[in-house]
């Protein structure tokens, strides 16, 4: 069938099963927007292109499908860069489509021209500049395939305006199934060696990373853990892989991890790392972290083996079948005394909650209590509140914890929650944000109101850039350089202006009432919770310290 390039793009999106795209139009992407005008696709118009890419990211994280965002050339395209980097570092499947100046104008510093494929080369899994309309179907299909195959990631497709307008013949095609492969010969031997090491270990621990979520291998991870009876911890990206109520789950490991979880990893003689890339926030001192331990590393990305931590046994491929095989071939070792020690650490370090004044840990418990048993998706921004949420929210299902882990991208939270709410209309998206990051992309409240997306945004307002302030208190002699906000902001009033009901609360009772009202309203809501400026996140391991060296706070 004869189509324009832009119409072919729409056909390909539909072919790939896309039903929603996030974007913002502009000059060089107008042919595509013209084709979208009567396309069977829902287009969510955000306030800013960064909102569109984070929303597509949140959509992808919550649904496990490929998120799609669209922007124009030049500033539209550069506004996507932060969001692409966030998706790249957290292995989120995205396809970003950008307009570009016509091919004849390329390279002449034309109006709104930037070399976006050059700019995004290091923050995408791959990118394309399409110079011929006839190549659009091939490129679009490849883009989706690359985005979702293996270790997922973002792919950018740059479309010059004349390519969108060019005529071409379109041949429909079923999307290619994603081929999953594991190197059989190497794997069999590695599984045998891993099984022997696990059975021989006296102090094993399982570390679940984001790959378990992305690889949809939570069930297999739980079955392996249960068969072996060993303690399990999650990295920031691996929260939700096991329900927070699971008896073997000790909590978060890493810089702000739970004491029992970090102590267990520190004292372990064997680490089974599943879909974790041993980020510096997870390992602390990369020299002392591996001391005295055997590492079994399961990952879909071969290059993660030996990148940050040298592994003794590597199992490369899809986590689902690998975990199942490992479970089938491994017998539990003698770890009763280890489990007893771990249980003691857990008992000694149970978090305590106080409702004497409004504080973040209590708020996280309260949200968890209110949301228990309900379909809910949690999203966070980046900073202190993110760590409090990671420590104290009950995340019980994979894909219901959306956070910018690798990039640590402030401003991620609200648009990501928006995208998650679009992806999962039967769920309630609950955002936990800080006042700093919420200001960065807070205008997307307008988008929530415009599309009536019932996200509940809880803004922990401590009137400072909390994590910066915390580091200044601990490591910079309390010199609070540019971290205390010069002027308070009324987030409830701001919400109202955007068309979203807002509450401002200062006591636990007020919070409970506001959260209930927001929940019952069935629409978007903002609850700004005043918490103390001085509150800091503990426990904490200083950057570059070992996992048993906690920062002592005055």
């Amino acid at each position: 069938m004869q189509l324009t390039g832009a119409e072919a793009v729409v056909k390909c999106l539909v072919e790939e099963g896309v039903d929603t795209v996030f974007g913002y139009p502009g000059g060089q992407i107008m042919p595509l927007y013209d084709a979208l005008y009567d396309a069977p696709l829902r287009h969510i118009l955000t306030v800013h292109e960064q909102g569109a890419v984070h929303a597509a990211d949140g959509y992808a994280r919550a649904s496990g499908r490929v998120g799609v965002c669209i922007a124009t050339s030049g500033p539209g395209a550069t506004n996507l860069v932060t969001g692409l980097a966030a998706a790249y570092l957290d292995s989120v499947p995205l396809v970003a489509i950008t307009g570009q100046v016509p091919t004849g104008m390329l390279g002449r510093d034309s109006f709104q021209e930037v070399d976006i494929t050059g700019i995004t080369m290091s923050v995408t899994k791959h990118n394309f500049l399409v110079r011929d309309a006839a190549r659009i179907p091939e490129v679009m299909r490849l883009a989706f395939r690359i985005a979702r195959s293996g270790r997922p990631g973002p792919v950018l497709v740059d479309l010059p305006r004349d390519v969108q307008q060019g005529k071409m013949t379109f041949y429909p095609e079923e999307p290619a199934p994603v081929r999953r492969e594991t190197d059989e010969t190497r794997t069999e031997d590695a599984v045998r060696r891993a099984a022997a090491a696990i059975t021989a270990a006296r102090r094993p621990v399982m570390v679940l990373g984001g790959g378990v979520i992305r690889g949809q291998a939570s069930r297999e991870a739980a079955l392996l853990a249960e068969k072996l009876g060993l303690p399990v911890v999650s990295t920031l990206m691996g929260l939700g892989a096991l329900p927070s109520t699971h008896p073997q789950w000790l909590g978060l490991t890493g810089m702000h991890g739970h004491v029992a979880a970090n102590r267990t990893v520190h004292e372990a003689d064997l680490v089974i790392a599943v879909g974790s890339r041993f980020s510096d926030r997870v390992t602390g001192d990369p020299k002392r972290y591996p001391a005295g331990k055997t590492f079994i590393h399961l990952d879909i990305d071969r290059s993660e083996v030996g990148k940050n931590v040298a592994s003794h046994i590597a199992l490369i491929g899809e986590l689902k079948p690998l975990l199942a095989r490992l479970a089938a071939q491994t017998a539990p070792g003698d770890i009763a005394s280890w489990n007893a020690a771990v249980a003691t650490w857990r008992e000694e370090n149970k978090p305590e909650y106080t409702a004497e004044s409004l504080n973040a840990p209590w708020i996280m418990r309260e949200i968890s209590r209110r949301a228990a048993g309900q379909p809910v998706v949690f999203a966070t921004d980046v900073g202190q509140h993110q760590m409090w949420a990671a420590q104290h929210l009950s995340v019980d299902t994979p894909g219901t914890w959306l956070t910018s882990g690798g990039l640590g991208c402030m401003g991620f939270g609200l648009p990501a929650a928006l995208g998650a709410q679009v992806a999962a209309p039967g769920h309630r998206a609950v955002l936990v944000a800080g006042d700093g990051g919420f200001k960065m992309t807070g205008m997307e409240l307008y988008t929530l109101a415009a599309y009536n997306l019932p996200v509940i945004a809880v803004v922990l307002d401590n009137r400072c850039l909390g994590m910066v302030r915390q580091w200044q208190q601990l490591f910079y002699r309390e010199r609070y350089s540019s971290s205390l906000v010069p002027r308070e902001m009324d987030f409830a009033a701001f919400a109202e202006v955007c068309g979203v009901p807002g509450w401002r609360v200062a006591t636990p009772a007020e919070f409970t009432a506001a959260f209930s009202a927001a929940w019952e309203s069935g629409g978007p809501a903002v609850i700004a919770a005043d918490i103390a400026t001085k509150d800091i996140v503990t426990p904490m391991i200083a950057p570059g310290a070992a996992l048993n060296e906690f920062v002592h706070v005055k």
């Binding site: 690359i146 999953r180 990305d301 071969r302 290059s303």
Partner: protein, 175 residues
């Protein structure tokens, strides 16, 4: 330690930037790089000399393997491959020094590709050591300027890079 890697890539705009960008982004050191077409116009072949221990080499290969346009990677060890580069060296070679320099070039089987009253330009082909030795010897005569290509290399015997090719177009991006 230096390692020579041969990389078969799809011949597309930007592919060299992608490969070179990966090296610089991840902090791998490139000693030299040479790129050119092959018998099949769809492919180009890059020969790159990297510096680093075996751990770094392992990471270089794995990271290269993730690039969509990389089709095959082959390590070219010194004992099982031939590697050659070209250098052109222009020296001041007027008057009485000229005969002496020409003799030296003969020993190295370097060709004279340009000669003028005051200068002589030699072309020498060889592995890095041979070229280094030639350049060192010419040093005292006064090198006016020089240029050097990266090494290009092939495995000896029947071994060849196509043995390492991916089975299907773009398929191995799954790993």
């Amino acid at each position: 330690m230096k390692h020579v890697l041969s990389i078969l890539v799809y011949n597309q705009p930007g592919v060299l930037v992608r490969v070179a960008g990966m090296f610089s982004r991840r902090g791998f050191n490139i000693h030299s790089l040479a790129v050119g077409t092959t018998q099949d116009p769809r492919y180009s072949r890059i020969t790159v000399v990297v510096c680093g221990d075996n751990g770094i080499l392992d990471q270089v290969v794995k990271q290269l393997d993730k690039l969509v346009e990389v089709e095959a990677i082959q390590l070219l060890p010194p004992d099982a491959s031939v590697r050659r580069g070209i250098a052109m060296v222009k020296i001041a070679a007027g008057g009485d020094k000229r005969a002496e320099v020409l003799k030296l070039a003969e020993v190295f089987r370097a060709n004279i590709v340009d000669i003028s009253e005051q200068t002589a330009t030699f072309e020498i082909t060889g592995d890095d050591d041979k070229i280094d030795a030639f350049v060192d010897l010419l040093g005292p005569y006064g090198i006016l300027e020089m240029v050097r290509t990266g090494l290009a290399g092939l495995a000896r015997g029947t071994s060849n890079i196509h043995q390492y090719e991916r089975r299907e177009y773009y398929e191995q991006i799954v790993l």
